[in-house]
């Protein structure tokens, strides 16, 4: 990886990030395989942090693997599992090991995951975590003490452009920018017209916006997300398109849809880049980029 994610953000080119989910267990083979596929293809690789509140190998462990394999990791940090001491300590560790990008998240609720009786911490929220990073960059910790060696991060956050109601989300979005967020990776978007309206608003802020692209693998998945995932809306025409694919080939249609959306976002300069979430199908990310007409990106 010749260029850091921050350099890519500031280069003016169309940015592409993707993500991997660490394993539930100590077998890192599949995650390493996904890292190998992505590391030279994208500008940054997110590692999810016990996504959906399912206990897994830690995000920072995945980031260290990416570093060892020569990729550019983006550490996803939720506020669900760590108090302010643990969050700060992990930021110190991340910095010393060459991890330079952090995505600050609230974190999913505990009861939707697989440790339903665990304690959710949420001592900080995503806005406070962003401010904590900026504080630690100034050489101080949250206790007001001096750090012997400060951190330095490219800090990002998320927004859900399809949330209903949207206004409370936008207030928080602006608080994240004020707190020092440099980039935003959005929740999955499918309706480019709606997303364009969001971008018309978001353009006024000095922040890079990467549109979230979640690979659709079937009409059933699209319907499931519409019914169960907050802030995701797959329009009926895309569901019909997926349903029209011959049996077993819906994923190819999903790749085509994702590629088409990325091409439009890029060619029409709608946003600054995309964040591709293939959710376990990372091996098809190269196909998605090819479908978007993007080859040898990074």
């Amino acid at each position: 990886m010749a260029q850091s994610f921050k350099e890519a953000l500031n280069s003016g080119k169309f940015i592409i990030s993707s993500e991997i989910g660490p394993p539930k267990g100590t077998n890192l083979e599949k995650m390493r395989h996904h890292i190998d596929i992505l590391k030279d293809l994208v500008d940054g690789i997110n590692v999810t942090d016990h996504q959906s509140s399912v206990m897994r190998f830690p995000s920072i462990g995945g980031c260290l693997e990416i570093k060892e394999h020569g990729g550019e990791p983006i550490l996803q940090m939720t506020c669900r599992d760590r108090n302010q001491m643990a969050l700060q300590a992990e930021l110190l560790l991340a910095h010393t090991r060459g991890i330079r990008n952090v995505l600050c998240l609230t974190g999913d609720a505990i009861p939707i995951g697989d440790h339903k009786e665990a304690k959710g911490v949420f001592e900080l929220d995503s806005v406070q975590l962003l401010r904590t990073i900026r504080l630690m960059e100034s050489g101080k910790d949250m206790g007001g003490n001096d750090l012997d060696g400060a951190v330095e991060f490219c800090a990002g956050a998320i927004v859900t452009p399809e949330a209903n109601p949207i206004e409370p989300q936008l207030i928080k979005f602006e608080k994240k920018i004020e707190a020092g967020a440099e980039f935003i990776q959005t929740q999955a978007i499918y309706d480019l017209e709606n997303f364009g309206k969001f971008m018309d608003y978001a353009r006024q802020f000095p922040i890079k916006i990467l549109a979230g692209i979640v690979l659709l693998v079937s009409a059933r998945m699209a319907k499931y997300m519409n019914e169960n995932v907050p802030g995701i809306f797959v329009p009926q025409n895309l569901i019909d398109e997926l349903a029209s694919a011959p049996k077993g080939e819906a994923i190819n249609k999903g790749i085509e849809i994702a590629g088409r959306m990325i091409a439009t976002l890029k060619n029409d300069s709608i946003c600054d880049g995309v964040h591709i979430m293939a959710i376990g199908r990372e091996e098809v990310v190269p196909d998605i980029l090819a479908a978007a007409g993007i080859n040898g990106h990074a």
Binding site: T106, D108, F122, S126, P168, P230
Partner: protein, 214 residues
């Protein structure tokens, strides 16, 4: 404001009183009566169940308010039956259990779990209105508490799990930040939601928490 309780399972009660054959039962005439968990009716029902398990119930009483100092008087009045018991099974919230324990050397056994301090919105419906965090933010949040009304206790706005004004943990529960947004908007005070709220101090009053006012 009521202490909201739920009855423990009979199995749980039985495990706690294993080896204690003679039981004196204490109910509470206030919160536990109102929530039908430790009133007269539930005390009598418990008496029957314990007898079915082969236990000897030496007596029972429903103290008007198990958590106040009159508890001591009430226990003295029933001293005979209490002294002949191996333990006191208390059907009140944990405040009452501890009060009884403080006035009597006998083992105290809770028959209820204490869930939260609830405010009654309509007959029979209680919600937790305050977590006693020690740094009230209601002035910024249109009088709706984000600590208790938001599953994650968020201070700077909603998470991404909110959907159509509902919470990601339960589609029946309102998203606190949607409620706060709507009410602030009605009041023309949305700028309050835009104000950054710093992290809370988790050590306002050091645990064990206590205070002296006199």
């Amino acid at each position: 404001m009521k202490s909201i309780t739920r009855q423990k399972s009979l199995d749980d009660v039985e495990q706690q009183i294993e080896g204690l054959e003679r039981v004196y039962i204490i109910g509470c005439g206030t919160c536990a009566t109102m929530t039908n968990t430790g009133g007269r009716e539930q005390v009598l029902d418990m008496k029957e169940r314990l007898q079915e398990l082969g236990k000897v119930v030496t007596g029972w009483t429903v103290i008007p308010t198990a958590c106040d100092e009159m508890t001591e008087v009430s226990l003295q009045e029933n001293n005979g039956a209490i002294q002949s018991a191996d333990c006191l099974l208390v059907m009140s919230c944990a405040l009452g259990v501890q009060k009884v324990g403080a006035y009597n050397g006998k083992p105290v056994i809770p028959a209820l779990d204490t869930l939260f301090i609830g405010v009654e919105d309509e007959p029979g419906y209680f919600h937790e209105a305050c977590d006693q965090c020690g740094q009230c933010v209601l002035g910024y949040t249109a009088g709706i508490c984000p600590i208790t009304a938001c599953h994650k206790g968020l201070l700077n706005g909603p998470c991404g799990g909110t959907n159509n004004g509902k919470c990601e943990v339960d589609k029946e529960k309102d998203c606190a930040w949607t409620l706060i947004y709507n009410r602030l908007k009605e009041q023309g005070r949305l700028e309050l939601m835009k104000k950054y709220q710093p992290p809370k101090n988790s050590q306002v009053v050091l645990r064990p928490r206590a205070t002296r006012i006199l």
